[in-house]
Amino acid sequence: MNHTLPFLAATDPAQHVYNHVGIKAGEWWIWSGNQGNLVLSGLILILGMSWVAGKIRTGPESQGSARYVTTSRLAHMIEVICVYLREEICRPLLRDRTDRMMPFLWSLFFFVLVNNLLGLVPLLDLQHLLFPSMKEHHLAFFGGTATQNIWVTGVLALTAAIVFNVAAIRRLGVGGFLHHLTGGAPIIVAPLIFVLEALGQFVIKPIALALRLFANMTAGHILLATLLMFSGAVWGKGLLLQGPVTVISVVGAFAVMLLELFVAFLQAFIFMFLTAVFVSLMDHPEEHGHDHGHAHAHGHEHAHA
């Protein structure tokens, strides 16, 4: 395929999904495109959020009532998102622990969100357009979507798992935590329940978090690249074929791009929300037991009926 193709089109739709090496030492990857994006998102969050915090912060008394007003539209938007996540989503789940957990949950949400959004910016293609030799050697210093790299989502999920398990141990104590893993089952089946619950708590929940984000981001990008690939596939095959296929391909890609924008927010939200849910599941053992009691009672009623 020659270089006159639209630069987003590729012969292999997965080319946009692969992580590209940036710097190599022998066979060792020292730097990759995803790594560049992670650093970029870190910088955006450190500098951007510090600026936003300054705009949200209560001003000096000399400003009167205006001191409470957030003085930037972007800062206002971020504040609305933060307050919504804290009050509407997390407080009903975490109650007295909400304020303590929010810095982590907000960080998680915005880190995943910024990485998802950076994945929609064609930084990789821009580098390849400006430096064609980089495309030939599959090199990139930044670009791609870090959150469609299973190692990145895995580390995020591992961090979340450490937090929700440590939070559970702090709330229940080691003994209470271990007891909770038996699910209050009779002693005969308790070991089996313990193994299943422990697997769920330490393995399945983190893997579910990691796979969900990885799969959603990967699927969307492959679909987008495949749609754009159609316009590349008919390049130079006559206007009669090229015109309609290109129009349909670009319109379809645009629609999927809008969907991906929504998915970027949705997946960041789901990752944060599920982490909060996993904290809350181990947070109120007395209610958990109470609900179990109800369920068991209903079960008995049904059984008697």
Partner: protein, 147 residues
């Protein structure tokens, strides 16, 4: 020891454990490098790279007078960020310009860098939790606005 949230960020409770962790990490880098079959030169270069990169750790300690308590956590995070970039950058420069055993060098270097990162993160979380507890307990503390 309770920390005063209105004072400058803590220097001693962060500096002393970080110094110990850095010394331990440098020794670990050298030890791991040697254990993986690296020669004395490789292990020395791994230790030197980590020592050089650890200069970034000093920033939140030396500049603590100029850092607002609310920005201390972000400063520690940024210092850790810069240290990791220095580890990668200096490590790569040495890899390209010196004859060294690649595997012992990089694994030793990363083992040391990871040790400092883990200790730094745990320590920062501990200190920030103490600061937060002191802030909440203070009579004139300001709680986040409820929607």
């Amino acid at each position: 020891m309770p920390l005063n949230p209105h004072n400058q960020p803590p220097r001693g409770p962060f500096a002393v454990p970080m110094l110990a962790a850095t010394v331990l990490a440098i020794a670990l880098a050298a030890g791991t490098s040697l254990a993986l079959g690296g020669d004395a030169r490789t292990s020395t270069l791994a230790s030197l790279t980590l020592t050089l990169a650890s200069a970034a750790t000093l920033f939140p300690i030396l500049a603590s007078r100029f850092i607002a308590p609310s920005a201390w956590g972000v400063t520690v995070f940024a210092a850790g960020f810069v240290r990791m970039l220095l580890v990668i950058g200096v490590g790569f420069a040495l890899d390209r310009t010196r004859e060294l055993a690649r595997e012992p060098f990089w694994i030793g270097l990363l083992a040391g860098a990871l040790t400092v990162l883990i200790v730094e993160t745990a320590l920062a979380v501990l200190i920030l939790s103490k600061l937060e507890r002191s802030r909440v307990a203070a009579p004139n503390s300001t709680r986040p606005a409820q929607a």
